[in-house]
Amino acid sequence: MSIGLPHYLIVSLVLFALGLYCVLTRRNAIGILMGVELILNSANVNYLAFSRFSSGHYDGQVFAIFVIMLAAAEAAIGLAIVLGIYQNFHTIDVEAAETLRG
């Protein structure tokens, strides 16, 4: 049995599950951002797999490049916010930054 579309989809599913677990359970803000990166990577694997097993279009690859671009913007902004939280609370535990909780 050769490597087909479901193999790549399963790898991407495992990446997504690990990223979702990371986002749900981490309390370190940078750990949560790492989970988001895992999820974005799994989405990209899906895009490229569907692009590869379609009939020769490159749309999936173009979308993947857009996702990578926006992930870079997201990482820059997210880490700047994390540094701001660290300057104000002297920790990056997200449970410490709950000043706005009613």
């Binding site: 050769s2 490159y58 173009v62 993947a64 820059a76 994390v82 540094l83």
Partner: protein, 170 residues
Amino acid sequence: MSAFSLGGLVFYLVAAVTIISAAGVAFSRNIVYSAFSLLGTFMGVAGLYVLLAADFVAVIQVLIYVGGILVLMIFAVMLTHRITDPRISNRSVGRLPGLVVVGCVAGVMAKAILTTRWHAATPGTPVPTTYAIGNAFLGDYILPFELASVVLLAALIGAVVLSRKELKEE
């Protein structure tokens, strides 16, 4: 084709590297170990892109994720993490509810993947994709391309504004 053809072997190797490193990111108790596991995940995903005949995207992945985002993350870890502090730096709470939620979501998606009859075309021989992607960016996708540049500019200015120190004038 046998299950142990060279392509299959390479695929399983790359997938194993990717998933084991991703598990390191998700389960490590030390944020520095998580950050370095992320390197293995990004490189493994770049390998998957090569196997999917996406040479340009694989290079972009290595350049932007490994060369940019990962370095940024390690900088942030080093700036916010007291090395002398021996506490667990990457604690997890609610492991059991998290596992249940993730298990349910992953189970539904795995069932969808395995029961769908995919109409997958037989992939042709890999060809260089740069020419086609460049044409797509300056043809069909010109508006999203320009919008992405505006988003990147806004993100750049936003990051500078957020992370600079306020200088109060007397």
